[in-house]
Each structure stands twice: as structure tokens, then as C-alpha cells.
Symmetry: C2
Subunit: 408 residues, 2 copies
């Protein structure tokens, strides 16, 4: 990602989850996967204020339970251990015991209190973790040898095709604040809350409850607005660690620059969310859906998610077919109240529907536009104040291929 300025925010070239002061991250191969790195960790020199959001799926995986227990114990985290390959979901008491052991071994290795460690897993549901591999991996984990953010980013991937990392900087209290992030997504992506693992670090000093509120609010506009396939996984989790090493005055909504921090956190979450959508299983492009004019923000979200979730819209975009009828159809069944005669749709700058009726447009031009690697669908649904943006990807042969044979 290029260096750029967005208001006061600088996106750092090669920035990553270990860019904020005091954080390190790394990854290694412990043997859950055949060859790929499969065990990653994040560590903060100082105990950090944590915040987390978790899947709403009733089959919440064991590591999420352990992580929540860690956070609730004394609201401090200093490290996170993550494995890919096995999700440790639907694994009952043994799964829970394994997640506890994984936390304990990692905490010992890092010489931090047990409750200062969080655990995350992603991969196949219903299989027990190969604990020998995990044990050996944590024993062998060498902070120097395996330390590298790219290794962490790689270690958490499953069917993702690319590592996803970012870091940004801005000033608060005249101090440089850095926020870094890493994520994995790919399939089973329909956050509600999120549908993936996403980790965010910052050296900002942030008040506990303010950070939690901010994360929840921002997740609703970022991670919860992406979809790959409409399936909400058992293991989704977003964790933020704020270790305060930037030495700003503690941030909370009363701080005059609270909004700057919110904007920065939002930027990181949105960037990671879009990367996850773009790298959805089998995806060849990112689709962005911008809805405005809805009666409420909630209605706008429902409409944008109906469009981005439609298999028919997703396959049409895959085929670069300006099949706006499918967009209109999704708007019509979204559940949001609206007047069909006041609906307009555009593909990029090409108007295709106005007042609920087709507008004549150049099919060749539309096809050209839809062949880009990022496609934006604009829907204007009335005169209301409700706006929302959702992100997703096209539905391809490759999605079917990957998912018709994931386990084997």
C-alpha cells in the first residue's frame, strides 16, 4: 500500500501489526499444516488494554471462550497465540482443555501471567488440535528466529491467497500514535459480528471501556459490512491491544482528539475488512456497494448487505454482466421499506436505473467497467438520511471448486 495522507492519517509503506511501539509478532511451522506456517504470535512489551468482539454463532469455538476469560480477568493482555489449520470448534471439553493448555504454554514461554494471553484458532471445525504439534511449536518458538510480521500474517491464513497487514500513524497530544493490524478471512465470511480473525495493535493509551465501545461501533461499519458467502463462522474474533507506549494522555470520548483516534481505528478496520472481501474464496474482484437515501442507517445496511450477499449479483459481476435487474431484486427483498419508483442504481459512473426504471446505457462501456478489479454499485433508494457501505466479492467457479473439496 502506498504512503498517502487521509486527513491527518499516514498509511505507512510496509507498515504492519508490529509497527506500533513495543509490539513484536512472528510465526512458525509447528506441523498442523503440511508446510505452511501455522502458529503465530503477537507480543507487547507492556501489558495492553484489550478490546474484543466475537462471533454471534451459538457454536462459539473454545479459544474464544478462553480469550474472553483472559480479558475479563483483569482487562489486560500482553500476548496472543494463534493457530491455523484446525478451528478447535465443536470439540467439547477436550477442546476447551486444549485451548487452556495452549494459553498456559504460551504465557509461560513469554513469561507473562496466564490471563495476559489470548488464544485464537482458525481452520477445520470438529477436529481436536494436534496438541503435540502445538506444544512443540510453542517450545521451539524463538522470538528472534521467527520474529517477523509477515510470518505472523502468513501463519494465520487458511484458504486466503495473500497476507493482510497495515499500519497507520497520526498525532494526538503532539505524540505520534501508530495503529497496526493483521487479518485473515477467505470463506465462511458474513460477519455478525465478524467472520474472520483480525488483530489490531496500537501504542496509544486508551481507556478500557472507551476502546471496547469504539471497537464495537467501528466493527459494525467495517468487519460487519463484508460478506463472502453469507456464512458466519464459529471462530470469528477481532482483538485490539493498546499498550500506551506512545505516552499520549489516556484517550476516551472526553479527550479533544478522541475523534482522530476513532478515525484511525476505523481506517485500519475498514482497510482490513476490504482486504478480506477482496481475497474471498475464489474472488477475482472487490465489490463495494454504497447505499444512500434510506429511511435509516439500519435500512441502508440491510439493503447494502442484501445486494452484496446476492449470489445472482455476485455471479453477474463475475461475468462482467450489467444485470441491474438482480440489484433491483435484492433491494426489493432486503426487508427495508422504500418506494420502488424512487430507486436509482449506478455501476461506477454509469447510471443503469432511475426512478425504478431502466436507463439506456452503453453495454460495452459497462462491461469494461465491470472487468476492473474493483467495482462499485451505487444505490439511491429515496430521500432519507440512511447511508451504508458494504464490501464483498464475486462468486466464481473457483469458489465452488475450493468448497466442494475443502476437507479432502
Amino acid at each position: 500500500m502506498n504512503q498517502m495522507t487521509l486527513e491527518k492519517i499516514n498509511v505507512l509503506m510496509n507498515g504492519n501489526i508490529a509497527t506500533p511501539a513495543g509490539f513484536t509478532a512472528g510465526g512458525l511451522h509447528c506441523g498442523i499444516r503440511k508446510k505452511k506456517l501455522d502458529l503465530g504470535w503477537i507480543y507487547s512489551e507492556k501489558p495492553a488494554t484489550p478490546a474484543g468482539v466475537y462471533t454471534t454463532n451459538l457454536f462459539q469455538a473454545a479459544p474464544l471462550k478462553v480469550t474472553q476469560e483472559s480479558i475479563n480477568t483483569n482487562h489486560l493482555l500482553q500476548g496472543i497465540i494463534v493457530n491455523s489449520g484446525i478451528a478447535n470448534a465443536c470439540t467439547g471439553e477436550q477442546g476447551l482443555a486444549d485451548a487452556y493448555e495452549m494459553r498456559k504454554l504460551f504465557a509461560e514461554k513469554m513469561q507473562i501471567p496466564t490471563h495476559f494471553a489470548a488464544v485464537a484458532s482458525t481452520g477445520l471445525i470438529g477436529e481436536l488440535l494436534p496438541m503435540d504439534a502445538i506444544r512443540n511449536g510453542i517450545t521451539e518458538l524463538d522470538e528472534k528466529k521467527h520474529q517477523q510480521s509477515e510470518r505472523f500474517e502468513n501463519a494465520i491464513l487458511t484458504t486466503d491467497t495473500k497476507e493482510k497487514g497495515i499500519a497507520i500513524q497520526f498525532e494526538i497530544d503532539g505524540k505520534v500514535i501508530t495503529i497496526g493490524g493483521a487479518a485473515k478471512g477467505s470463506g465462511m465470511i458474513h460477519p455478525n459480528m465478524a467472520t474472520m480473525l483480525s488483530f489490531i495493535t496500537t501504542d496509544a493509551d486508551v481507556e478500557d471501556t472507551a476502546l471496547q465501545d469504539a471497537l464495537r461501533q467501528i466493527t459494525n461499519k467495517s468487519f460487519n459490512m463484508i460478506t463472502v458467502d453469507g456464512d458466519t463462522s464459529t471462530n470469528d474474533m477481532v482483538l485490539v491491544l493498546a499498550n500506551g507506549m506512545a505516552e499520549n494522555k489516556t484517550l476516551n470520548p472526553d479527550h479533544p482528539e478522541w475523534d482522530v483516534f476513532l478515525k484511525g481505528l476505523f481506517f485500519v478496520c475498514q482497510s482490513l475488512a476490504k482486504e478480506i472481501a477482496r481475497d474471498g474464496e475464489g474472488a477475482s474482484k472487490l465489490i463495494e456497494v454504497q447505499v444512500k437515501g434510506a429511511e435509516t442507517e439500519e435500512a441502508a445496511r440491510a439493503i447494502s448487505k442484501a445486494i452484496i450477499s446476492s449470489n445472482l449479483v455476485k455471479t453477474a459481476i463475475h461475468g462482467a454482466d450489467a444485470n441491474w435487474g438482480r440489484v433491483i431484486t435484492a433491494i426489493g427483498y432486503s426487508g427495508a421499506n422504500l418506494d420502488p419508483n424512487h430507486v436509482g442504481v449506478a455501476l461506477g459512473s454509469i447510471d443503469v436505473v432511475a426512478n425504478g426504471m431502466p436507463v439506456s446505457f452503453d453495454e460495452g462501456e459497462a462491461k469494461q467497467y465491470l472487468m476492473q478489479d474493483t467495482v462499485t454499485i451505487y444505490a439511491s433508494v429515496g430521500d432519507g438520511e440512511g447511508e451504508a457501505t458494504a464490501w464483498g466479492c464475486d462468486l466464481s467457479y473457483e469458489y465452488v471448486r475450493i468448497n466442494a473439496s475443502y476437507r479432502t
Copy 2:
């Protein structure tokens, strides 16, 4: 379909929508499609008591408005004209005028009052009907030459691969009652109400409001329980015509054999719904999901629809992969309240999950089972009374191929 007895119901070999006394049906090619039959009609010798359910999509197509006006005028219908190729949806005032003209021309041809005719369309959204073709078609419509139920069944198809028809018989008041049906489905199938066109005829004498109530109730357990792709179309409609020619005593809930009629109507609706699901775009098999033990019937429906709608479940079944984790995941995000520890899942007779945990099973046997052309997923989610069954199909490369290039 073979002749068989289900309690008192006989399924007629080669039975179809014109089997009930007094009904004829046919189809012809008028030129909307290149070669395929594209204009079909149903006619009843006597004016019939009608009942209808319509799409909940806000972008309801013009023919649905015209049909509802016909029915509401004097609660009698004698004929239905249907075209495929163009949906006459999102076509504004011109589209409405076209649907009115189509009704008028057909009523004149059949020498019935205008309001005794219903209109239905299916196909591309946003294009105007080629009215010259429709006019010529209705003029040329020859009751003898084009009369044949198979021609009607064919004329209403779009991307369907097979005609869908059925007729059954049973006795009420010692009289033989016949119910016939025809349907088309294929894509944009996620009824709410229904996602397709479905026409049902019967020579039973049925009270107006009783028929309407019965249809609505039965639709919720048949057409509204199927999904192909989660998209609810603009043109979905189920129409029933009951012309009374069987000369039974008028049926209503007070009639001692009302339940027999309900059972018959349900059988026809369920059969057509399953045929639609099996012939979903790109489908290679029918998937049936049976849920029991939910707290309420509504919860059971939500769970069964979450499973049958999951792209991940659909691709796994396509690949004959016993990936029960995806079934569990869908149960977990269905929105229904349940205890994950009391969930069991079976694929046919093979138990794969018990008490929320995996059960060891023979993968080869499971693969064999999932390669059948009908697959049943059983989910037991607790001790409640709520039960529901939903039907759908697998998600294949072919679905993507069809829908990445539907318009072109």
C-alpha cells in the same frame, strides 16, 4: 412419477394441470424466445374459484398487479395466460399497460370477461414485452393445435431443464376429486412467498376464502421452504383455480373431509416445490433438510432454511464431502435459540454429530450416500415440538456458468 398410494391419494401416471375435469392447457411459440415455446395458457370450461399468493419483493412485476385486480374484481377466474423470456418487471406504466393488454386479448380470444383472466410473466427483468409477438401469439393461439399440457409446462420454463407437472386423485363426498399442477423455477429461488410460477387446477368445489387460507398455509410449508440461491424474485406467484366440476359439496373447514382436500393440495404443492428445488440452476441433486426438536415451528423453519441456504453446505454436498461442520455452523447462526450441546446431525442414516460433537463415521460410506441424487440432512436441535422440512439443491460450477452469462 409412478402411480402410488399415499393414504387416500392416488398420484396419476402422466397426470398434469389439465387432468382435472373441465381444464385445458397448451403452449406455443410467439417469438419472445428464439425457438422454445414461450406463451402458455390454462382454461377452465367453468369460471373457477381462485386463490393466489404473490412475491413479497417490493418490485412486484406488472402482471402480478393485473392478476390481483382480476381476482379481486369478482373472485372468479377462467383462464391464465403466461409468457416466458421477459418478466415485465421494472417496466413502469408501459409495462402495466402491456400486462392489461395481454389480459384483454387473451380474454377476448377465450370469450370470457376480461376480469376472468390472469396474467403471469417470467424471464428478464427491465425489458418491455415484445407486444407484437404477444399479440400475434394470442391471435394464432389455437385451442386444438396447441393444446397439450406438456406444451404449457414447456412454454413457462426459463433456465429450467425439465417440465414439472403432476396430478393426483382422491375422493370427497364419494366423488373423485382431481388436483393438477404445473410449475417453473430454476434461479432467483428463495420464496417468501414463492420464487417461481406455479399453477394448480382442481375440479373440487371449494369456498373462496377457505381456498385462499389453505393456499397460504400450505405455501408456507411447501413453496416457501425451498431455496436455490436465496434470491426472491419480482414475479413469483402461485395460482389455484377450483372449478367445482367434481360436484362435491362445497369444501370449507366445516366439511368433514376438508383435511383430505388440504392433504391433497399440500401433496401437489410439495411435489412441485421439490421438483423446482431439484431442477435449480446448475443443480445435480435435491437436498432435503429435516429439522426437529426446535422450540417452535418458526425456529425449525429458520434452522432448516439456514442450512439449505448455506453456500458452504451446498458446495460440500456438490463435492460429496461430509463436511458437517458447515451444517453445525449454519444451525449456530440461524437466529434460533438452542443449546449447542443438544444438537445432532445425520446425513441419511449416518450419524455425524451427537450432542454438538463429532461422531466417528465411515467417510467412504458418507461419500457414497452424498453422491445419490437425493440427499437428506437431519438435524435434531433439542427437545422442542418444532419441526420443519426445507428443500434445495447443490451449488455447482454450472450455477456460476449460467448466472455469469444469463443475459448474453
